[in-house]
């Protein structure tokens, strides 16, 4: 399989040429180059590209309007565009033109123009087809869609197809039954070979086509990186599309940097940071808490990812100096963290912060019981305590599953533990990573207590038999989840039961026995409920566990 190439303003698409029985579809690349506006004409066709009848109007009035609207939301200036098409390999004679005016090209032309103006690169292994049916960016099928789908299917190296949705009423309105049938058949074939994403508006198109990395690169180069969320865009279809591009870019930036560092791609990480600095200098704004984010990220990178044996310099001293001119007094400490990144070492700092909010316990015994059972539900507990840990484990990648020494394993475990804490929002700043490293090794000891202790974990990673480091990190994950879940369960029970006076405890037990009445033998129900009060916690844990097990069985069926 060819490695996909990412380029600005180039979109792979299928064009349907000609009409009626002589029509044919061909896969090609649409290119849009954004340039400064000069003169009245904002769209110029270059090379073999030609507009069909009425197409100039469609592109200038609908597509260009759409692109301008998105650009306005991103605070970008409207631009003019040179549109062209790659002619090679289309099977046409050299003097034959390629029509960009047909409905098949609308979505691709829109995407190419948006890419051109936002500088967001696009992958050439994604093919986009679809008709832009309104100035709000609705994307719909068109009669020849089946033909375009077939052409995409015949083309090697396309891995993803983004096309109009065939669900809902709109396809029925725009397609004849036989056209719909052909499109559905082609879609079914496509699904067996490609990843198919169906979209019905511009926001969905952007989500389907763009990755975190490409949006970050485009937004840093074009300047809309820091726009953030804009509540006034909600509900407006074009605003929704703009939000895809401008919301959460700081988080995306962190994720991309993390992916590069974990994969040992230091040069890419440096380039991303350089672009970020360039952007911040352009907008004359210091990147708040960037130093803190980077310090904690670096500490949580597995040691094996640092291929040179030490944490390399990620930021140039010159860039750091330039950023220092933008700081306010509050940013001094953060800047000092950035300064540390200019040398081949990093001194991250860590500190635990309090988490978790408490829910008041209702006064009524039956309501209290309901609340407790809801909180003790395994799925609820898993959501509350396990999911963030699983998310963190899923994102922690390493290049190999062996270590060269016990010390390397301890460093890896510490990095992983810090990474999990960071993902859970449990660390912010501080000065002593050793404390957290000690906690991490203690966790390792507990995780392997029943299977040979830390010595077994080290042996597994030196000479893997069950997955090496991967197995150790999985065990740590399960241990951490189990411990946090147990902490949560204990807290729920202590908060609910401990503060109750004897009378309230009795009432609580009565409510519990009443709930379990149909399941218990009669002799259990005849005696005073007080005899069970001392075991309230045990009974509640057991009931919750058995309910979970029952639910689990039913779900399997």
């Amino acid at each position: 399989m060819a490695i996909p190439t990412f380029r600005v303003g180039r979109v792979t698409t299928a064009l349907v040429l000609g009409q009626g029985e002589t029509s044919q579809a061909t896969v090609t690349t649409v290119m849009a180059r954004a340039r400064q506006r000069s003169g009245r004409r904002r769209i110029l066709l270059r090379g073999a590209a030609r507009f069909g009848t009425g197409a100039t109007q469609l592109i200038e009035e609908t597509v260009l309007h759409l692109v301008d609207q998105v650009a306005r939301h991103l605070a970008l200036r409207p631009q003019a565009f040179d549109l062209s098409v790659v002619h090679a390999g289309t099977g046409l004679a050299p003097d034959q033109s390629l029509g960009l005016g047909g409905p098949s090209a609308d979505a691709a032309v829109t995407m190419a123009m948006l890419s051109g103006i936002t500088k967001i690169p696009l992958s050439d292994d994604v093919a986009i087809i679809g008709h832009v049916a309104s100035p709000d960016g609705d994307i719909t099928p068109w009669p020849d869609m089946g033909m375009a789908l077939d052409a995409v299917l015949r083309t090697p190296d396309i891995r993803t197809l983004v096309c109009p949705s065939l669900d809902g009423d709109i396809p029925n309105a725009v397609l004849l039954p036989e056209e719909r049938e052909r499109a559905e058949a082609a879609m079914a074939s496509a699904r067996s070979r490609l990843q198919v994403v169906q979209v019905s508006d511009l926001a969905q198109l952007l989500r389907a086509v763009l990755s975190d990395e490409t949006i970050v690169l485009g937004s840093l180069r074009s300047g809309f990186f820091n726009l953030g969320s804009a509540p006034n865009l909600i509900g407006d279809p074009i605003g929704d599309a703009a939000r895809v591009l401008c919301e959460g870019n700081n988080t995306r930036f962190g994720r991309c940097l993390q992916a590069h560092l974990f994969a040992g791609r230091v040069a890419e990480a440096r380039e991303l940071l350089r672009l970020r600095v360039e952007h911040q200098l352009r907008v004359k704004q210091y990147p708040k808490v960037l130093g803190q984010q980077l310090a904690s990220l670096i500490q949580s990178v597995p040691p094996s990812a640092w291929t040179e044996g030490s944490v390399p310099a990620l930021l140039s001293a010159d860039d750091c100096l330039k950023l220092s001119r933008l700081i306010a007094v509050d940013d001094l400490e953060d800047l000092s963290r950035l300064v540390r990144l200019t040398k081949a070492r990093a001194v991250p700092v860590w500190q635990r912060t309090a988490d978790e909010t408490r829910q008041p316990v209702p006064a009524d015994a039956s309501a209290a019981l309901d609340l407790i059972m809801e909180q003790l539900d395994a799925e609820h507990l898993s959501r509350e305590t396990g999911q963030a840990i699983d998310e963190a484990r899923a994102a922690f990648v390493m290049d190999r599953v062996t270590v060269g020494s016990a010390e390397e394993l301890y460093s890896t475990v510490a990095a992983f533990y810090l990474f999990v804490l960071r993902r859970m929002g449990l660390v912010a700043g501080g000065e002593n990573p050793e404390d957290v490293a000690d906690e991490a090794v203690a966790l390792l000891e507990r995780a392997f207590r029943s299977s040979g202790g830390v010595r077994a974990a080290v042996a597994e990673c030196l000479v893997p038999a069950r997955g090496g480091v991967r197995h150790v990190l999985d065990e740590l994950t399960e241990q951490l989840k189990a411990e946090r879940q147990e902490m949560r369960v204990s807290r729920i029970l202590k908060t609910a039961v401990d503060p109750l006076d004897p009378e309230a405890r009795r009432a609580f037990m009565v409510a519990l026995l009443d709930r379990l009445k149909p399941l218990l033998p009669p002799e259990m129900l005849t005696g005073p409920p007080e005899r069970f009060v001392a075991e309230t916690e045990t009974i509640l844990r057991t009931v919750a566990r058995s309910l979970d097990e029952t639910r689990r069985v039913f779900r399997r069926l």
Binding site: R193, G386, E391
Partner: protein, 195 residues
């Protein structure tokens, strides 16, 4: 014909882990899904198919890719197998991935990795036996199998009759030994490490 010592060396747990298991673990370790949950069954198919194609390309076909339908089909088959052992099925895997339960999508991808690894180990062990057990001489076959049972019999479980090597010395009849050995690999791995 390779020696009995080479048979035992190639069947050692560490050798298998290093030569066959490690590439699978490395491949899994390098792969991070975008999220640890999925929004729909279609997305579940894309995620498991995407991972299966990646893993297959990295460890099995060494570069050649699977069509999407092949990748999704293979992934479903492995997930079904792996989850059945734990009393579940593919719907358990989907629900876990959908709601982020029991490890979420991460655990589902782990199951695919373990399935492909188990297939590779099975093929490897079968090949080692095939290369070391002479196909054309009953006496030679019996000699190798007798030595093998003397050496490993204690680990092979109650279904293997260590006192009657001739039961396994017929042409192609050592399959039962291969299965028992594969099972013992899993069973004894943790214990051996604790010694």
């Amino acid at each position: 014909m390779p020696s009995f010592q080479s048979l035992m060396a190639e069947l050692s747990e560490q050798h298998i882990a290093r030569e066959v298991g490690a590439p699978h673990d490395n491949a899994r370790m390098r792969y991070a899904p975008k999220r640890n949950s999925v929004g729909s069954y279609a997305e579940f198919g894309d995620e498991i198919g995407g991972y299966c194609a990646y893993h297959y390309g990295a460890c099995v076909s060494k570069g050649a890719t699977l069509e999407r339908y092949q990748a999704v089909g293979l992934a479903r088959e492995i997930i079904e197998q792996q989850y059945r052992r734990r009393g579940g099925n593919i719907m358990t895997a989907y629900r876990n991935a959908r709601y982020g339960l029991d490890g979420g999508l991460r655990a589902v991808l782990d199951a695919i990795c373990e399935g492909l690894k188990a297939q590779a180990i099975e093929k490897y062990v079968t090949d080692v036996f095939d290369r070391h057990i002479p196909p054309d001489s009953y006496e030679d076959r019996l000699a190798v199998i007798t030595q093998f049972l003397q050496h490993c019999g204690a680990f092979l479980g109650p279904t293997v009759d260590v006192n009657h090597p001739e039961h396994y010395a017929g042409a192609g009849q050592y399959r039962e030994l291969i299965d028992a050995y594969l099972e013992s690999l899993q069973r004894t791995a943790a214990a051996i490490r604790r010694i």
